[in-house]
Structures are given as C-alpha cells and as structure tokens.
Symmetry: C2
Subunit: 152 residues, 2 copies
C-alpha cells in the first residue's frame, strides 16, 4: 500500500469535510450540504496562510482516504521548545483497520520532528475509547486531562 | 487590585522564565541560570513572529505577576471554526490565592472571543489537581483525555 501524504489543496476540501462528518461526534456538527458551505473555504484559507498550521491529506490510488491537522507551537516552557498538536484525525470509514491511520500518524510525527518539535500533544473526547487505544499503541501516554470551555 | 494584561516584550523574559521554573513540574525542566539562556530569547522571537500565538503577562504595580500563552488555531471541524488553547499559565507563587489567575483567564477568554474563537482548550498534567479545580470553576469541563508523546 503506497500512501502519499501531502498538504491539502482547495480541491480536497469536500473530501475532508465528508470525513469529518462521517463520525459519531462529527455528524452532529458539520455541514455536508452541497454546494459546500463557504465557511470551509474560508477556514482553509486561514489555515493555509498560517505557516505553523498544516492541513494534511492522505492519498491512495488518487483518492483522498485520510486527513489530519498538524499545529506547530513555538513555546517558552521546556527551555523554549516547540511542541506540536494533531487534531481532526480521520480515516475514510470504508478503509479503517488497514493501518492507514497509523501510517498517517507516523508521518505526522516525523514531520513534527523535522519542524523542530520535542513533543506531540492531542486531546481526544473521553468517549473515543478506540482512538485512545490507537494513540497508546503509537506511544502516546494519557498523562494529561483535556479541558474544554465553550466561548459562545 | 488593578491588573494590566498585555503582550510580553523582551524585558519580560526573565520574569516569565522565573515563574515557569517556580513550580513542582517546571523546576525540573527550565534553566534559570544567569545570564539567561539564549534559547528563551529565540523562543520569544518565534512566538512574537506568529500572529496566532500570544505570550501574555499580567502586571501589578509595575511588577510582572503572571503569564500565559494563548494560541489561536484556525481549523476545519465545527464548520471551520477557530479554537484557542492556553498553556504555561502561571501566577507568582507569592501572590497565589488572590484571584490573579482567575482575572488572567477571564481576560484570555475575552481575548479569544475577540479573535473569533468558539472554544478554549487546555491540557493540564494529571497531577495538577488544584489546577483542574481552578479551571472547572471557570467553566471548563474535563471532557477530553490529554495525550502526549515525546519526539526526542
């Protein structure tokens, strides 16, 4: 299986939104109506303009089969180290269990190392138990509490 | 008590490092030797150059008494919403329990709203039980698991 990982382009937006929505939490919060809501194009432009924020897709035989967002954060703690965060990690539901997510994460870890990061962080909803096991197999520790506040 | 919240400048770096180090986890990982390690100045410049990353200090009667870092993340999920993250939140240990941390966080929440964020996230080490209570009183929910991987 030859998976190509690359920066997303505007043509990838519908596939990314479809994968975000194809999820027990995501389906309640995304808008997959067509033509696609312009807010996703606006979000894409903002991510694309931010050099510390990379929207990534995984391509297999010309099809988009996965996505993740990698955020690089220069910070002060740990002697002025950079840290990284991944979010919105999704694999096409038809292709789960084939190691695509693992390949995507290994790529993201290498990319974060190249960008000078000493650690990778993520928060995963407490109900995503399968995801926690997936990340633990990659070496992530459940060392932190992830807290969230709505600002609306 | 009149607390002024503002963007950090280079003159604030020693006070910020001192507060990060004055902590049961931080003292193991920061370098407070003088003259100050140049890596902190380099980190400051990288944060300062990133428009989505704000290093904030709280000033009381001309003294730096607190710091936090606010990271704005344009993202795709939740219909292309921006989220925010706070990290490295510290109050001078001599001045804890006086509501300074709460004022700082309320300021950060308002700042994140101004920047268009719909939510604020943070991860806090599992051992920081006082911090978890502090954030819960501000309305944060322990809804997520915070996972971390070393890339070194």
């Amino acid at each position: 299986m030859s998976l190509e990982m690359r920066q997303a382009i505007t043509d990838d937006i519908p596939a990314i939104v479809r994968m975000l929505a194809d999820d027990f939490l995501g389906r309640q919060r995304e808008d997959t109506s067509l033509p696609l809501n312009e807010i996703y194009v606006k979000a894409f432009r903002e991510i694309d303009a931010d050099p510390n924020n990379e929207l990534i897709v995984a391509e297999l035989d010309g099809e988009i089969v996965g996505t993740l967002q990698l955020v690089i954060t220069p910070s002060f703690s740990y002697k002025g180290s950079k840290r990284s965060m991944v979010e919105s990690v999704r694999v096409d539901s038809k292709l789960r269990g084939q190691g695509i997510g693992r390949q995507m994460m290994l790529w993201a870890m290498e990319r974060a190392r190249e960008r000078g990061c000493i650690s990778m962080h993520l928060t995963s909803h407490g109900d995503r138990e399968d995801a926690h096991r997936f990340y633990e197999k990659l070496g992530f520790a459940k060392s932190h509490v992830g807290m969230k506040l709505s600002l609306k």
